[in-house]
Amino acid sequence: MRSIQVEDREIPLDKEGFLRNLGDWSPAVAEQLARAEGIELTEDHWQVIRLLQEFYREFELSPAMRPLVKYAGQHLGADKGRSIYLMQLFPPSPAKVASKIAGLPKPTNCL
């Protein structure tokens, strides 16, 4: 089984690298999940991560790309509600990659 080691804890992952137990998430876990994706987290990344967690609290869903773009536009402003912006932060598939780092379940409708 896949796992990552964070602060002496063994955190289990599914075969696509999503957390098996959503309760395992912490900022340190996010840093490490991001590194596995080749991403160094900046404040811009954290803003989107918090946004995704907010989305999940509101709808109990992980967003697909289109709703994520729309939601970012509503909450972070029009300049950040663009797929190119999210694509630069979380390549190559922002909804999926950012959901993974934010500790959300895999988007069920992420085809």
Binding site: E60, P63, R66, P67, Y71, N109, C110
Partner: protein, 120 residues
């Protein structure tokens, strides 16, 4: 011309998986830019009741999921008026933030306006 797609939602939210599967199908289609319309009919209107606390039976809150419809591009939700009446539900109590609710009196004519109809 794009095909007009209707999803009939006929099941109460937690007794079986169909209500959730229907919603997931609609959200998946919407994410692919194939927005479907929804018609809540029969026991399906129970999905719309407020204040569902599904965690009490260790399920995800379907009502919360429904609130995601507008952000997925589904901005109007259709409801069979007779089904509300039969179940003693006052349409005035129902609301989904960001979505318009439209009561349908003649469901047969409404359904006939679609190219494809999925029943859940």
């Amino acid at each position: 011309m794009a095909k007009r797609l209707l999803a009939l939602c006929r099941q109460a939210p937690y007794g079986n998986a169909l209500a959730r599967e229907g919603l997931e199908a609609v959200l998946a289609a919407a994410a692919m830019d194939q927005a479907a319309d929804l018609l809540f009919l029969g026991d399906g209107v129970f999905q719309l009741l407020d204040d569902q606390r599904a965690e009490a039976i260790e399920q995800k809150n379907l009502r919360r999921n429904l609130q995601a419809l507008p952000i997925f591009g589904v901005e109007t939700v259709h409801i069979c008026e007779r089904s509300l009446l039969e179940r003693g539900i006052d349409a005035g109590q129902l609301q989904i933030p960001g979505a318009g609710l439209k009561l349908i009196a003649d469901t047969s004519r409404f359904i006939a306006g679609y190219d494809s109809v999925l029943s859940f």
